[in-house]
């Protein structure tokens, strides 16, 4: 494995190997070994053409714990904002000796373009491309669900997970549907019809318009952010109505199964898709997701960069 562009590129055993490696690394960083020399001398570039807080610092923290050198590169204040093409940027990074590029871009397929262009010899890691995929987020969500809900299995067999909200614009949902299903979970997508993409019937997931009928039957709910910045039309009548039918408020929270968990990829619109009580409740693992994100990204960097590229995992 050289790049991580899409969950579809992974086999189930690849995915489990990432989760298991992340678990070992999480134990190492909780324990005495905070900093590991594994990627000493490697250069990792964070190429963020779109705003991000936690993904960028999470990858940065992961890379630094493995002793890699990190160069941060954001669209604002770089030549990307002057209209430099991806190819020219890639060739610049290649000339600087980047071993890996972590790319976030508002165009779906940007990571793919960067990897397939062969403009650089390093690895490409997709940290979110438009409304397409966000594989590292799906892996950390699967890691979190496995930790809290798995029924004695290595995978997610027998679990039911609801993904609720703005599915249409969500790369997190796309990556999660593929990964969670691959790992044996059943996924239910809950959203108003206007926020479901065309062709959702062909996804390996159930679809529901009625959050109340689903909430009591799942082991985990992933609440998605309403992506106001990507919305060019009217998708919902108004925020209050959306919140009433699809938000996770304290009444819905009370109907959840005993050990069910509440997740959100962040950043949250408190009061819109999730109420403050739900976000801060004992069921919420939202802050833990951030912590798990660092371990999962360390595992991704280790598996992509530590060994030679000629051999498979």
């Amino acid at each position: 494995m050289r790049h991580l562009l899409s969950i579809n590129d992974l086999t189930k055993s690849d995915a489990l190997s990432i989760l298991n490696t992340a678990e070992t690394l999480a134990r190492a960083s909780d324990g005495p070994m905070k900093k590991l020399p594994t990627l000493r001398g490697r250069t990792i570039v964070n190429l963020f053409a779109e705003d991000s807080t936690r993904t960028r610092i999470s990858f940065e923290a992961a890379a630094k714990r493995l002793s890699a050198d990190v160069i941060n590169f954001s669209a604002k204040g770089s030549s990307l904002s002057k209209g430099e093409s991806l190819k020219d940027t890639a060739q610049t990074l290649q000339a600087m000796g980047a071993d890996a590029v972590i790319i976030r871009h508002n165009a779906s397929g940007a990571a793919h373009t960067l990897a397939k262009g062969e403009w650089m010899s390093g690895s490409v890691i997709n940290a979110g491309d438009g409304t397409h995929e966000h594989p590292s987020q799906a892996l950390l969500d699967a890691f979190t669900i496995r930790k809290h809900c798995a029924r004695g299995n290595e995978d997610l067999t027998g679990l039911r997970v609801a993904i609720v909200g703005d599915i249409l614009h969500s790369r997190v949902a796309r990556s999660n549907v593929v990964l969670l299903t691959m790992l044996g979970a059943k996924v239910v997508l809950v959203a108003p019809p206007t926020l479901l993409p065309i062709g959702v019937q062909s996804w390996p997931a159930e679809v529901s318009y009625d959050f109340d009928s689903i909430i009591g039957e799942v082991d985990a709910v992933i609440m998605l952010r309403m992506q106001i910045e990507r919305m060019t039309e009217m998708f919902i009548p108004n925020a209050r109505e959306y919140s009433r039918f699809f938000g996770l408020d304290k009444d819905r929270l009370a109907t959840m199964r005993a050990n069910a968990i509440v997740m959100h990829p962040g950043p949250m619109n408190r009061g819109l898709e999730i109420s403050a009580e739900s976000a801060d409740s004992a069921r919420s693992v939202i802050v833990e997701q951030v912590k798990n994100g660092v371990s999962v990204r360390m595992a991704i960097l280790y598996l992509l960069l530590a060994g030679t590229q000629e051999l498979e995992i």
């Binding site: 005495p32 590991l36 280790y302």
Partner: protein, 177 residues
């Protein structure tokens, strides 16, 4: 392929190493055994059991995965990681005995010393191995050796332990081809 060390010899070697560790450290109170996964961890557990049956007192025993500290990571496919379990009292000021199955180039032990440095500062670090096959590439020497086995660098040593392989034996194979 020949059997270099049959099961009874392995058991005897472990018992002898247990006695030597006790003799050198004047008992087991200050000793922390750390096995290097996979087979070093099993050997550490067996040595701990042997020490406990001699002294009647428990001895600190854990594992130390050194994969992330290896200097040859770039030369091969990524390895699966094994857990590191340091006993709760830590290694500060303890006499740490590293335990591995085969001592060859010494690079694993160098990585283990680096890994230990991240964990704490032991009073001393000692090394116990089941087989020393020679051909060191670094200035490293074992304190306790189950058996010295002269080999050529092309030969392959295989350690089988019942915990992972169903049988106790050390095999010496000629290199294929």
């Amino acid at each position: 392929m020949s059997v270099a060390l049959p099961a009874p010899d392995i058991t005897r070697a472990i018992t002898r190493i247990a006695h030597e560790i006790l003799e050198r450290n004047l008992g087991s109170e200050s000793v922390t055994l750390l096995g290097i996964p996979t087979r070093g961890a099993h050997l550490a557990h067996r040595i701990a059991t042997a020490i406990e049956s001699i002294t009647g007192k428990p001895v600190e025993c854990g594992t130390l995965d050194i994969t992330l500290h290896r200097d040859d990571l770039r030369l091969r496919a990524p390895r699966a990681l094994a857990p590191t379990r340091i006993p709760p009292s830590g290694i500060e000021n303890r006499n740490v005995v590293l335990i591995d199955d085969v001592l060859f180039s010494g690079r694993t032990i160098r990585a283990a010393l680096d890994a230990l440095g991240e964990v704490g500062r032991p009073r001393s670090v000692q090394l116990a191995v089941l087989v020393d096959r020679g051909h060191r590439q670094l200035p490293i020497k074992a304190d306790y050796v189950g058996k010295n086995l002269p080999t050529s660098p092309q030969q392959i040593i295989k350690v089988h332990l019942s915990e992972t392989d169903g049988v106790d034996e050390v095999l010496l194979e000629e290199a294929a081809g």
